[in-house]
């Protein structure tokens, strides 16, 4: 495995306000995904599969579910005597509580944690991205290029490039310029928010940034531009494969649908790169005599007596007779009553969708079901 010590710092404090009610009580990295996972399983499993054994998880917004979920890190083999996972919420000091003001300030405030780990390299990861990536290759690339910082980049369609932080490079993949959401992008290489820093360099810049009153203490906006300006060696690492930043209800839905496409590049059935997760103790799923499941993923504990087409079904979901669910994401513990019709719906955990309920989304937009919506429907007498 890795010779020089790498510590991963996983930023998991994000709110994800565009995910609406899905993230009222949990942080975005804790969001359920893919029938049994939470999004943070992906970067954590990438660490395990890449041989990274020391991981700090930085939490701030609604941290309880995440803290409980990650626990000692057992599902990811991160319950170690040396290293392992450390949860890093904001904390109080003699001169007050210091909230994480930005991505860089979150790392700065945990400099003492990093110093105690004594790493050669620090890997900065985001807890809300869905992808499978071998970080060992990224660190090797960083070493080969003798870089101070390496930014992982992804080729995106040109028409979408203006939604991303775009990186302009020369033929040697040296970074020349940063363009945060440019109107007229000069390149289609998007930053994935995955960085490797040589620790000594990172420390130096974090300390300078901390005392800069004009800084927003963000990696993309402050630290990286300032390193570029000072002429530090900055290279781009071209990542190839599936990568998705799940920021909205639509993109969460899309990412789930991608799982159903056998050619999407996101294969969960690869025994060589398992996505680890906590595994609830539930009986196998049952497809009854009236059930019909097509082009879908179904988790344990489910009983399917209705029709399920192109959908992702989490654990412990009941789909009753006569119900029809298509192109939908049904989260854990949901009951879909008799004759319910759902198309392009996301149903949050433990919702009880009453008999006869129908989602009327003719325009094919994705609908996020809420308890309020169901209550109103019942008040109207089921219309």
């Amino acid at each position: 495995m890795m010779n020089d010590k790498v510590v991963a710092m996983l930023l998991a404090g994000g709110q994800g306000s565009r995910l609406k009610s899905l993230t009222y009580t949990i942080a975005k990295p804790a969001l359920p995904f893919g029938g049994k996972y939470r999004i943070i399983d992906f970067p954590l499993s990438n660490c395990t599969n890449s041989g990274i054994e020391t991981v700090g998880v930085l939490t701030q917004y609604q941290p309880h579910v995440l803290h409980e979920y990650i626990g000692l890190g057992t599902p990811w083999d991160l319950d170690r005597h040396n290293g392992g996972v450390t949860m890093l919420p904001p904390y109080a000091e003699i001169d007050g509580i210091k909230w994480y003001a930005g991505t860089a300030s979150a790392i700065y405030q945990n400099i003492s944690f990093l110093q105690s780990c004594d790493p050669e390299y620090v890997l900065i990861l985001s807890g809300d991205h869905i992808y499978k990536m071998d970080y060992e290759l990224l660190v090797d690339y960083h070493k080969e290029h003798e870089a101070d910082v390496t930014i992982s980049v992804l080729e995106v369609p040109w028409e979408e490039a203006s939604r991303f932080g775009v990186i302009n490079v020369n033929d040697e993949m040296d970074v020349l310029e940063f363009d945060e959401k440019p109107e007229n992008p000069k390149s289609n290489l998007a930053s994935m928010g995955v960085y490797v820093f040589t620790w000594e360099k990172l420390k130096e810049y974090l300390e300078t940034d901390n005392v800069d009153e004009s800084s927003s203490h963000d990696f993309g906006k402050d630290i990286l531009p300032s390193m570029l300006q000072k002429g530090e060696k900055m290279v781009a690492y071209p990542f190839k494969g599936y990568w998705k930043d799940v920021g909205t209800v639509e993109s969460l839905w899309e990412a789930n649908m991608d799982l159903l496409d056998l050619n999407s590049g996101l294969n969960l059935h690869d025994p060589g790169w398992r996505i680890f997760s906590s595994n609830p103790q539930l009986p196998p799923q049952v497809i009854t005599g009236t059930g019909n499941v097509q082009g879908s993923m179904v988790n344990e504990g489910c009983v399917i007596s209705g029709e399920v087409l192109k959908s992702v079904i989490f654990q412990n979901v009941m789909v009753e007779e006569g119900a029809s669910v298509s192109e939908s994401v049904i989260m854990s513990g949901v009951t879909i009553g008799k004759n319910v019709k759902l198309h392009r719906a996301i149903v949050p955990p433990r919702l009880d969708v009453p008999e006869g309920f129908e989602v009327s989304n003719q325009k094919d937009e994705v609908v996020l079901l809420t308890q309020e919506q169901l209550d109103e429907w019942k008040e109207r007498g089921g219309k």
């Binding site: 056998l262 680890f276 103790q281 009986p283 799923q285 005599g289 019909n292 097509q294 993923m297 079904i313």
Partner: protein, 340 residues
Amino acid sequence: MNLMAVVDASVKKEGLQDLTMQRTVSSVPFAGRYRLIDFPLSNLVNSGVNTVGVFPTYPFASLLDHIGVGKSWDLDRRKNGLFFLPVTQRDGGISSVGAFGALEEHIQFFTKSIQPHAVVINSFIVSQLDFKDMLDQHIQSGADITEAVSGGVSLKTYILSKDLLIDLIRTHRDKKVVSVEDVVNLKKSPYKFNEYEYEGYFAVIDSVQSYFQASLALLDEENRKQLFLADRPIYTKVKDEPPTRYVSGCHVERALVANGSTIMGQVADSIISRAVYIKKSARVEKCIIMQKCVIEENCDLSYVIADKDVYIGEGVVLHGTAEQPIVLRKGEKVTKEDMR
């Protein structure tokens, strides 16, 4: 809890030979994602018992791999917990439950433990027995030995005081009795016996036939409701398998399916374990397909038990009967050429 447990995992069942070439009866896969031993172990922890000795004979590698230090059952403890106590073939491997010779090999397990009562159980009967309830009834009855029964069928589960058990272990040669089961079945006996009537699901797995029937009986909702209780879960060693994929064009009805599988063909009235691959136009009816089996295109199978890692090549046709299901042994490869 003042009860310790002996899980006799050394009992041999001739009728299960095809499924126990490389494992003990206790580690025979059941219900898609479990091993038989999961049921007694889960019943014990759900009853509050946390001192558990598992007594297997060879070949116990798969059992050891499965239960490990007992983490899945919360039996990885500093105080009490799971004790893995293998016994020699000479003393174990008989057909009655609680062989004294086998228990004698680990007499310290009994002398060192602090619980005054012991329950001796087997791992070939699947049930939801509540040992706390059974112990309460045993103490109330004032009997020396209590046997669990259900509708006249012995569940081969016995509660007795630990002192009596130790005494029986030490003196069994003079008394010419070989096991706890043997003592209970003696016609003349100085002991006072009591029966504990269990009402609920149970299945005795002692032959390929009974295994097949008990497995398919789980497709009946009533049986599942009695065996899989939300407040008394059946624990097992978990695997990080993704949810099962049902590819468009598949047809699945009346099936119990574990995670990690990919189904493209037709499945009816069957048990499909973890990480099974059933390819296009294959037909699987009234079958038990265990972990990591691959069933190629255009196969036609009915009344087949395919043990772990079985490969069934394209176009293979195999039809057993309810009385005599075809058993494909662990790792077996079957191709159309073999069929001629």
